[in-house]
């Protein structure tokens, strides 16, 4: 059967479009599944902290978590506070109350601790970031509602780099923003979008890797993305239909709403794959190694939300909002 010129033209156009899409999609896709599961890699549930010893009440829908350089753990929860635990899970202190003033919260969601022990808290409702000493003494705040540079629409996850620059996952603005240590705006990282590298869609978590790269939990593009500290997109990991369109998956080739990620001193990546109710372990190259699933997880709520790693890399802490607790997992790295 002979094809007329219009039909040949359409076929060529389709082939060109598919090739371009494939090339665009392959560029930057780092997720690779090893041929065999990584020997010995995995997690063991070591403990679950419900904060029942806290005088003001146990943990209630905890969502933010960060580890200090000395190993202490900070958690934010629905009681509008930040709770300070030591590495053994013992209560050290807490601060915060309802309001819009210094040390007051409406919905504290993200946490980060810098090298000197200062604690940053993002408030999803107030659209601002507050900085405190390790004991909760107010130091500074910045940000307001909006979409201009330096403004937020529901700031979620936080990270701090070696030079004390602050990175904020700006949920409804579909971007990450970088701030100087004094809280002044520096640069926007990522663009709103669904396709291609650098496009972000409802990012919820951000993390600084040991190599100085920004690792973003691009939750509703169902992927992780790496950026240079200056904002240039590097790579991404997740399942993409036709190598192009990010899609959720329950398989080990991707995620379903990855809401946070953290790396340990070996470069191993731990992902809060919240829609799948699991913690996923990736190699430094982004290869799947192992995962651990929350037993009997409620299908009504995605968990875990945020995740962090102890300074020695031996323990992973993750918030289980639905279970009103912190999951403490022992890491078994690959042999």
């Amino acid at each position: 059967m002979a094809l007329g010129p219009p039909r040949i033209g359409a076929i060529v156009l389709i082939l060109v479009a598919v090739s371009a899409a494939t090339a665009l999609g392959l560029w930057g896709t780092r997720w690779r599944v090893p041929q065999a599961p990584a020997a010995g890699a995995g997690y063991t549930l070591q403990d679950a902290w419900d904060g029942s010893m806290i005088p003001e009440g146990g943990l209630q829908r905890p969502i933010g978590i960060a580890v200090a350089p000395a190993g202490d753990v900070y958690v934010s929860d629905e009681r509008l506070r930040v709770v300070h635990f030591n590495a053994a899970g013992e209560f050290v202190g807490e601060w915060g109350r309802e309001g819009d003033g210094r040390g007051e919260f409406r919905n504290p969601v993200g946490l980060a601790v810098c090298r000197d022990g200062a604690v940053y808290v993002s408030d999803y409702e107030q659209d601002r970031i507050q900085k405190f000493t390790a004991d909760g003494e107010f130091l500074l705040d910045f940000g307001r509602a909006g979409s201009a540079p330096g403004e937020f629409s529901a700031p979620a996850g936080l990270a701090v780099d070696e030079a004390n620059f602050i990175y904020v996952a700006d949920f409804y603005n579909h971007r990450v923003q970088k701030f100087r240590p004094d809280g002044s705006f520096d640069v926007v990282i990522g663009d709103p979008g669904r396709l291609g590298v650098g496009a972000l869609h409802y990012p919820t978590g951000v993390h600084m890797t040991g190599q100085g790269e920004i690792l973003v939990a691009d939750a509703y593009n169902y992927q992780l993305q790496w950026f240079e500290a200056g904002g240039r997109p590097l790579l991404r990991a997740g399942y993409h239909l036709l190598w192009l369109w990010p899609r959720p998956t329950t398989s080990t080739t991707g995620f379903n709403a990855p809401t946070d990620a953290a790396t340990d001193p070996r470069g191993i990546i731990h992902v809060a794959d919240s829609g799948n109710h699991r913690v996923v372990m990736l190699s430094p190259a982004g290869e799947y190694l192992a995962h651990w699933q929350i037993p009997n997880a409620s299908s009504d709520v995605f968990s875990p939300e945020h995740i962090t790693v102890s300074p020695d890399g031996a323990t992973v802490y993750a918030t289980d909002l639905a279970g009103d607790r912190i999951l403490v997992l022992t890491v078994k790295p690959p042999a």
């Binding site: 969601v109 529901a154 939750a219 009504d300 709520v301 995605f302």
Partner: protein
């Protein structure tokens, strides 16, 4: 002189006019519909069906957008019931369309909206 080409555009004109009329009627109907669904009397609490908000970031986002509605005193979500519950001051002038827009701004689509009498405590 009327050309063939001109005569050929006449159906297009009629189509454009028809579309404009339908859009205008739709706008008028929407306005009346929204006004008709504004809370009446002591029905100051809207129960909004929102599906797919298992993610806490999304649920908090819906609460945040609904709480910004004029007259809203409280917004909550019931994840297990796929519901968002907004309580307004008595007599607040809010329409279903405004609620639907707030939910849309939060990245979701609102389903049925039921109005009832309520207090902030009942929304918990």
């Amino acid at each position: 002189m009327q050309t063939n080409a001109h005569r050929g555009r006449q159906p297009l004109h009629r189509l454009v006019i028809g579309v404009v009329v339908v859009m205008a009627l739709g706008q008028v109907a929407s306005t009346f519909s929204a006004a008709a669904q504004a809370p009446a009397g002591d029905r100051n609490q809207a129960v909004v069906t929102v599906r797919g908000m298992q993610c806490p970031f999304c649920a908090d986002g819906i609460k945040k957008h609904l709480a910004k509605l004029t007259g809203a005193t409280r917004a909550d979500v019931e994840l297990a019931k796929n519901q968002a519950i907004v309580t307004f001051t008595p007599g607040a002038k809010v329409t279903d369309a405004q609620i639907q827009q707030a939910v849309r701004n939060a990245g979701f689509t609102a389903g049925a909206i039921e109005w009832r009498a309520g207090t902030p405590d009942e929304a918990r």
